[in-house]
């Protein structure tokens, strides 16, 4: 414990927000996977890029996603959730060429034709005989569109995360007011949460890894997406038990009877609102906050746990 109980209260709160945010992250990932949110958003963004947004029957986009290179990225019937820009560029050139030579150029959406012409004219030395932009130019065009799409995805999922935060808060009865009061009056609980927070910090913030489609090929190729080994995002069994002990609905019947409906509701609505808002800020925010508060609490920087690099200085 420090001589500043308020700091330990803050650390305890931050740690609990982090755990609840991790629960929301896990749920969000599950929803995104089940609903294939990324794949659907990618298709929607591609349709817009190809000038077919708002059209009921986006034939050109469908043809693009049917291309062999794109099919290789799909998992069964699921649309790919990530397309390397060069793969997109190659598939697009194939489809456009096919349609140009098949004399049904009218099947190329007019807006796409205009975009391709604009790209080709901006880099005249890199176009081919059929006035198609070069692969790098198309890839860059796709990357720029995907950057914008990534922002849109984050904005859209923010609302889902907020709803999840409200749901998790209510389901667990995670009341900030009640928790703060408990932490302030219970030094043992404060000390316990600070210790648990240290364990969590030792794991470090989740480090994202990528996967490659050809793991044995040492040639550099485009990654196919993030991996599924996200252990730092998962709650430890002790942390799950901790949340179960801190929150819940068991004691609420007695509190409701003692305080009356009005006061009970007023106190809880404030506590729930604060929790839901905090949790919706996300796990990375609270992890970073926890790291900073712990450093503030420490008298010096705690040395990290090293593993000696083989062939170097012994541990």
């Amino acid at each position: 414990m420090t001589g500043f109980p308020i700091l330990d209260v803050v650390i305890g709160l931050t740690f609990i927000y982090l755990l609840l945010a991790l629960v929301c992250t896990t749920l969000m990932e599950w929803i995104a996977h089940v609903r294939n949110l990324r794949g659907r958003m990618l298709e929607q963004g591609t349709r817009r890029l190809l000038g077919e947004d708002g059209e009921k029957d986006a034939k050109f986009t469908a043809a693009l996603f049917q291309h062999t290179l794109m099919q290789d990225l799909s998992e069964g019937k699921r649309k790919p959730s990530y397309v390397p820009s060069k793969t997109f560029a190659r598939a697009l050139r194939d489809i456009v060429r096919e349609r140009q030579t098949a004399t049904d150029a009218q099947q190329i959406p007019p807006r796409l034709q205009a975009s391709l012409q604009a790209l080709a004219s901006s880099e005249p030395t890199q176009t081919d005989s059929q006035s198609l932009p070069a692969i790098p130019a198309l890839a860059e065009w796709f990357d720029e569109a995907m950057d914008r799409l990534s922002g849109t995805y984050k904005r859209k999922t923010r609302w889902i995360v907020l709803l999840l935060a409200v749901g998790v808060t209510l389901l667990m009865n995670a009341d900030t007011v009640k928790l703060t009061t408990n932490l302030w009056h219970n030094p043992t609980l404060r000390a316990f949460l600070v210790e648990r927070a240290k364990v969590r910090l030792d794991q470090g913030p989740p480090l994202e890894t990528v996967e490659y489609a050809d793991p044995l090929n040492p040639q550099v190729t485009a990654p196919i997406g993030t991996d599924s080994t996200r252990s730092p995002d998962q709650l430890l069994a002790e942390e799950q038990a901790l949340l179960g002990e801190l929150f819940g609905w068991k004691a609420e019947r007695a509190a409701f009877a003692a305080q009356g409906a009005g006061l009970w509701l007023f106190r809880h609505i404030l506590g729930w609102t604060l929790t839901a808002l905090a949790v919706s800020l996300g796990a990375p925010f609270w992890f970073s906050a926890l790291d900073r508060f712990m450093k503030l609490r420490a008298t010096g920087v705690v040395p990290p746990k090293y593993q000696a690099a083989p062939g170097s200085k012994p541990a």
Binding site: D143, G204, L207, E208, V210, P218, T229, G311, K313
Partner: protein, 308 residues
């Protein structure tokens, strides 16, 4: 009651505000590599790349200390690397390097170069996140974009062999062993692997050129493109500057490699070196930890640029 609720709400607001204003953690730069690529280069001294040159300096740096190291810097991309990178020729101002200098400068702004040299993964000018083979921003768009990968020093530019540039830099004040090695040994990295990728997180690292003494503990081992030696490290007073041994990398066909190729265990040399990540150690750590995230002492080795 109301006062207590207001106090709690205020405390909550303070938590959120303070959390955002305190200094951020230092270790925040990430590079994600392809595991098979790492395995290929772990025991190689060099890499070859078809480079698209984005920007080049027009002259060699002046020679003094720190960044005034006599190198020429040029930046670009290559499908063989998959990361924005910078290449550097040491002793670029010497007459022997002028044909290579002209070849490099001629390719400024989009030209192609076949380049080879010591690969160097090091978080000296890192980007927040870069992924090998991914869509990495080339920012800032000049000779020194955010990068964790370098070909430094270069040993070949097109058909021009510049292995002769691997000599100590005259009149350059390098960092000493007592400054650099304790710093390297006190740093840590965070590593996590997937089945086909390896991610490494580090803080920004410093101390580029270090001058020190080595004593080989084994005969140098010939590898495909040079020599790798295990050596103890000493400072100017003859005291050990780092416990245990470090890997020393000698690029094949360079003056540095020529100087040690017939050396034996126990031989001593005064050398100029630049640090890079030791990918062999990274692989060993990854094999031990599987897909679990872990912290480890900075795994590094020294590319020997010159032997006195």
């Amino acid at each position: 009651m109301i006062a207590r609720l207001i106090a709690i709400s205020s405390a909550f607001a303070c938590v959120a505000l303070a959390a955002d204003s305190l200094p951020a953690q230092a270790k925040k730069f990430e590079v994600r590599l392809k595991r098979a690529w790492v395995q290929k280069f772990a025991d190689r001294t060099t890499v070859e790349a078809a480079m698209t040159v984005r920007h080049t300096h027009k002259h060699a740096n002046s020679v003094k200390k720190g960044g005034d190291d006599g190198d020429i810097h040029f930046s670009g991309t290559s499908p063989d690397i998959g990361l924005p990178f910078v290449a550097e020729v040491v002793n670029a101002g010497l007459p022997a390097q002028q044909p290579a200098m002209q070849a490099i400068i001629a390719q400024d702004d989009g030209g192609q170069l076949a380049i080879a040299g010591a690969w160097r993964l090091w978080f000296e000018h890192p980007a927040k996140k870069q992924t090998q083979g991914g869509s990495n921003a080339f920012e800032p768009d000049h000779t020194n974009p955010d990068h964790s990968f370098e070909i430094h020093p270069a040993s070949k530019v097109d058909q021009l062999n510049i292995g002769g540039s691997f000599i100590p830099i005259a009149n350059y004040q390098a960092y000493d062993a007592d400054t650099a090695f304790p710093y390297f040994d006190s740093d840590s990295v965070t590593i996590k692997a997937s089945s086909s990728g390896i991610s490494i997180r580090s803080k920004k690292l410093k101390y580029n050129y270090v001058e020190f003494e080595i004593e080989l503990t084994h005969d140098p081992k010939a590898v495909q493109d040079g020599f790798i030696g295990l050596a103890r490290v000493f400072n100017d007073q003859g005291d050990e500057a780092a416990d245990g041994t470090r890997r020393m990398i000698f690029v094949g066909g360079t003056k540095a490699a020529t100087a040690i190729q017939n050396a034996s265990a126990g031989d001593r040399f005064r050398v100029l070196g630049v640090p890079r990540l030791n990918l062999k150690s990274v692989l060993a750590l990854v094999n031990k930890n599987g897909t679990k995230q872990f912290d480890a002492q900075l795994p590094y080795e020294m590319i020997i640029v010159g032997v006195h």
